[in-house]
Structure formats: structure tokens, C-alpha cells
């Protein structure tokens, strides 16, 4: 079985966010780019599944939609262990546009499982994975925190509000994963980084697709009032403030 892992190239989560062009676009000057944290978990689980030979995973492909500047992030995914990479050469502006690109790649590759992170840490859209499944007309399972195989059928653990469910689904399907799906994300070793340089990275042109949404402007939150400090020996005062000032007790 072949696994496709969809990767979003996002600013490092510690980035100080700035906007340019009159607050209409993200200012990416000086930004470090990383694999979206949830996609990194998806990739880690894909590697774990491939290494456990009982799953008969033959190949792990990573794909992203982005300009050439997204390639180092794909190389990083290859260094972690993916077998090959695909970059759809387009600016990822809208969830439906991106999902359309990824669905086109997925449909062309005989993948049994398509893995996506539950959201990306930049625009927090929580949309692409579900959209891919609907475009392709295949099942999707969201909030996935466990994934293993019995033949061509997956045994999935998903979070529900207030518990967990065990779900089974036949391939092909889209699994939208979250924390718990894999252990610690892997750090690429030097050998992996060397090997990644020689692994195939294919660039494909974008298919025609609409955009459903666009960002008109961005704004920073209002600066908050400074923290009111209370002496450690005067816990009573804290209770007083919470009751009578903040009115939250």
C-alpha cells in the first residue's frame, strides 16, 4: 500500500508574526519555515507504519502546494524518511484551491491512505483534509489519534467530544490526524539528509481550481493590560480580585 502525506509549509511556531502591504499580506521576511506540526506527526506515523512490515506499506510520498521556496521543507520530509516528494507549483492561497491540487495528485497515484494534519499553524483552517476526501468521494475520519492496518482495512482511533471511538474503514480513505497519532516527531539524521538530496522531487503544474475565500486584511490583537502581581503571602487578595474585580469566581 502507498501512503500520501500532505504537508503544509508553515512559519516556525515561534515566529513573531508581522504583516505587510497595509496589513493585507503576511510578511515572510526572515521567517524560518517548517513542516506544519500536525503534518509532521502524520509523516512520523506513516514512517512507523512502513517500518512495521506487517502493514505492507511499500511507499510514503509527501506532497505540498507551494512555490520553489517550499522545497527545503519537502527535503526535510525526505530526510525524515519519505521515499519521494511532489510539489504542486502554485501559491497556496485558499483551502479549496489547495485541496483541489492535492486531490488531483492523490487521484493520480493509487494511494491507499491520504494523511493530513487536522489544521495548519498559519491560517488554522482545519479544512484541506476533509475537502480532499469530498472531492475524491472517499471516506474520511477526522481527529485521528491512532491508525493501524489489518490488510486493506484500517483500524482507527478518533477523538470525540468526551471520549474516543474505534472506527474501521477500508482503503482508500483520508485520515485527518492530531496529537497522539505518533510518538515524538523525528529529527532527520545526517545520513537521512544526505540521502534526501538524491530522492526524487517531482514538480507538477497546478490544475484549474476556484478559490472560495480570501483574506482582506490582518490585524494584531489589542495589547493587553499588564499582569497585576499579587504577593505570594497575600493569596487572600488574589481571591478578592477574582471575585470583585474580574468577577470570575
Amino acid at each position: 500500500m502507498r501512503i500520501l502525506v500532505c504537508i503544509s509549509n508553515v512559519p516556525d511556531t515561534t515566529t513573531k508574526v508581522k504583516f505587510s502591504n497595509g496589513n493585507t499580506s503576511f510578511d515572510d521576511s526572515g521567517v524560518q519555515w517548517i513542516i506544519n506540526p500536525w503534518d509532521e506527526l502524520a509523516l512520523t506515523r506513516a514512517m512507523e507504519l512502513k517500518e512495521d512490515t506487517s502493514n505492507t506499506v511499500s511507499n510514503v510520498t509527501v506532497v505540498t502546494v507551494g512555490p520553489v521556496t517550499a522545497e527545503p521543507t519537502l527535503r526535510k520530509a525526505l530526510a525524515i524518511g519519505a521515499d519521494d516528494a511532489i510539489r504542486v507549483d502554485a501559491v497556496s492561497s485558499d483551502a479549496f484551491f489547495v485541496a483541489s491540487q492535492l486531490a488531483a495528485v492523490a487521484a493520480g497515484g493509487d494511494f491507499g491512505v491520504i494523511l493530513c494534519g487536522i489544521e495548519s499553524s498559519d491560517y488554522n483552517g482545519s479544512a484541506v483534509g476533509g475537502m480532499i476526501s469530498e472531492i475524491m468521494g472517499i471516506p474520511s475520519v477526522s481527529a485521528v489519534s491512532g491508525l493501524s492496518f489489518e490488510g486493506d482495512t484500517a483500524a482507527i482511533t478518533r477523538d470525540i467530544d468526551g471520549g474516543k471511538e474505534e472506527v474501521s474503514v477500508p482503503a482508500p480513505f483520508v485520515a485527518i490526524v492530531q496529537k497522539g497519532i505518533a510518538k515524538e516527531p523525528r529529527i532527520a539524521a545526517m545520513r537521512g539528509i544526505m540521502m534526501a538530496r538524491k530522492k526524487p522531487l517531482q514538480v507538477v503544474t497546478a490544475v484549474d481550481a476556484e478559490t472560495f475565500t480570501s483574506y482582506r486584511a490582518f490585524a494584531m490583537p489589542e495589547p493587553k493590560a499588564p499582569c497585576k502581581m499579587v504577593d505570594a503571602d497575600n493569596v487572600k487578595e488574589l481571591v478578592n480580585l477574582l471575585q470583585n474585580e474580574a468577577k470570575v469566581l
Binding site: 511556531t13 506540526p37 502581581m229
Partner: protein, 321 residues
């Protein structure tokens, strides 16, 4: 133009989140100049359904013949059928597990742009323009939905429940769609009896400053005393001191309680991404320079293990008055 709101049920009942959603839908419908129709899937008591009228729904469609287990394709078909039946242009759902699973599929099915995790009513409705948090709460983005229909998923605890009075008409709804599920639910494990972290209005949270998993009793005691839920930072759940479902932060649960009390949490940017929407944050940490104090409203520089028992007894004393 009417608004459809999908009201999920939990073992046949609604909760505060459901009323937040209907209240929100009512505000959106005021802008679009139409009524609110609520859609319920699975078996829910009739009084529970008509009670949604109190929050602004004029009609409740009850697809009670549909399976109660969530299959994304089946539920997408049912909700799409309800959209068609009531001719709604806007669909409101929760930004929770079910909403995140269904909204993207519906976006494609209905050709409706999706704004996920909104916290306020749109500033305009033709086209729909709405603010949402981006970069995990570090900034706001103004999203324009360019399609004729729109889907808005609402962040939990971000919109006040408002009662407008009234009783909704309940109508049985046969969606007339294929109910063959692609997924099979084999087993359900519920977290017994405890208040859900995402539902809680008060959250008591511990970090590495609690020093050992054996020191958690006062965190739990304080949460019980306040009728709140317990949470923890990522290192604590990674160490296995606390279960993963308590992890709040960027990759864990994103919460917005009225009061968040952080004990021994330094406040890494990833942690703050999960809690910064809290209305009031209290931090107790030994390090006066810890970033948590920049996010907090009230702070104590001190040992969480010493402050906690004092705080418990002071709150007990205040409650006794």
C-alpha cells in the same frame, strides 16, 4: 435569507455549546434578514428540540431516523439535504471534532466558502466578511467568502448564549439520502462523568513546576471546588504525568474558559496559543520573568505547591461567607 445551524447532540441532549450556536445563528440571521432553522441528527427528545426556540430557532428539523454514530459522508449528505430544504445561504456549525470533520466536506459539496473557528458575527453578509484568529491566535484575519453560500464554524465559549424566547416548531425530517456508511464504529469509550475540558468555564492547569505527578491532588481539589476541569502543559502530558486529553496548547486542546489558572507553567508560545482566548488568566510561577505573566491578568511569583493550598482555603473561606 435563512440560516441553518447544525446542533449536535450528546446522548440525546444538547449542551451550552448548542445554545451558543443557535444564539450565534440568530445574530447572523438578523443580518441576512431571515429565520433560523436548526438541524438535529439522531434521536433527541421533542421538548429538548423545541427548547432551541428559546435561543432563536424558529424551526427544528429532526432527522431522527438517521444513525447516531458519525459517518462523515452520511452526515454531509443529511446536512446538505437540510440546506436545500430550507434554502439557507449560511450554515453554522461548532468548531469542534464533528464540525471540523464535516464543514470541509460540506464546503465542497455545497460550493460554500468556509471560515473556520470564528469568534464573532460577520461584519457584512453580502459578501460574508468575518474575523477569525490566525497564526494560532497571534493575529486576526478578515476572511471574505466569495461563494454564494457560506459556512461558519464557531469557536466554543466565544459567543454569549442569548435567550430571545419562543418555542420552535419541530418537524420530522427525512433527508432522502443514502445512509450507507463508509466507516464502521466498532467501539465507543466515554470519559466517565467528568466535565469536559472544552466545556469548562473554569480550568485549573498544572505544568512542570508541579514537580511530580504525585502533587496533582490540590489541582484536582481546586478544580472540584470551583466546578471546573483540569488541564496540563505539553511536557506534563509527554512525560505521562497526566493524560493526553488534558494537554492544552497549540497541538493539544484550544480552550476559552472564563477563568484559567496556571500553576507552574512557564507559558511557552505554543501553550499560550491554546489558552490565550481565556477571559481571565491567573499564573503562579517561581520565575518572575516567565512568559506566562505577559499573558496573565493576575500573577503570583511563588511556588505553586505552596500557593495552591492557601488558595484552596481562601476560596473555601470566601465561599462560606
Amino acid at each position: 435569507m435563512s440560516v441553518l445551524v447544525y446542533t449536535e447532540n450528546w446522548d440525546g441532549t444538547f449542551k451550552k455549546l448548542s445554545y451558543e450556536l443557535v444564539s450565534y445563528a440568530k445574530h447572523v440571521a438578523t443580518l441576512t434578514g431571515g429565520g433560523v432553522t436548526a438541524l438535529s441528527i439522531g434521536t433527541v427528545d421533542r421538548d429538548e428540540l423545541s427548547n432551541l426556540g428559546k435561543y432563536g430557532a424558529s424551526l427544528v428539523l429532526s432527522a431522527d431516523g438517521a444513525p447516531s454514530g458519525l459517518d462523515n459522508q452520511v452526515y454531509t449528505s443529511i446536512i446538505a439535504a437540510a440546506m436545500e430544504k430550507c434554502g439557507a445561504k449560511v450554515l453554522v456549525m461548532a468548531h469542534n471534532n464533528a464540525g471540523k470533520a464535516l464543514a470541509p466536506r460540506l464546503s465542497v459539496r455545497l460550493k460554500a466558502g468556509l471560515a473556520a473557528g470564528v469568534t464573532a458575527v460577520p461584519e457584512s453578509v453580502s459578501p460574508v466578511v468575518v474575523n477569525k484568529k490566525v497564526f494560532s491566535g497571534k493575529a486576526f484575519g478578515k476572511v471574505e467568502i466569495k461563494t454564494e453560500k457560506a459556512i461558519l464554524t464557531l469557536s466554543q465559549n466565544s459567543f454569549e448564549v442569548s435567550e430571545t424566547g419562543g418555542i420552535a416548531t419541530v418537524e420530522a425530517f427525512n433527508p432522502g439520502v443514502d445512509l450507507t456508511a463508509g466507516t464502521t464504529i466498532k467501539d465507543v469509550q466515554k470519559q466517565g462523568g467528568k466535565l469536559l475540558l472544552t466545556d469548562a468555564e473554569i480550568v485549573v492547569s498544572g505544568g512542570r513546576g508541579m514537580k511530580s505527578p504525585d502533587n496533582w491532588a490540590p489541582i484536582e481539589e481546586l478544580a472540584d471546588l470551583l466546578g471546573g476541569a483540569t488541564a496540563c502543559s505539553r511536557p506534563v502530558s509527554d512525560e505521562g504525568w497526566r493524560p493526553h486529553h488534558e494537554h492544552t496548547g497549540q497541538t493539544g486542546k484550544i480552550i476559552a474558559p472564563n477563568l484559567y489558572l496556571a500553576f507552574g507553567i512557564s507559558g511557552a508560545i505554543q501553550h499560550l496559543a491554546g489558552v490565550s482566548s481565556s477571559k481571565c488568566i491567573v499564573a503562579v510561577n517561581t520565575d518572575k520573568d516567565a512568559p506566562i505573566f505577559e499573558a496573565a491578568d493576575y500573577g503570583i511569583v511563588g511556588d505553586a505547591l505552596k500557593v495552591l493550598p492557601q488558595l484552596i482555603s481562601e476560596i473555601r473561606a470566601a465561599k462560606a461567607q
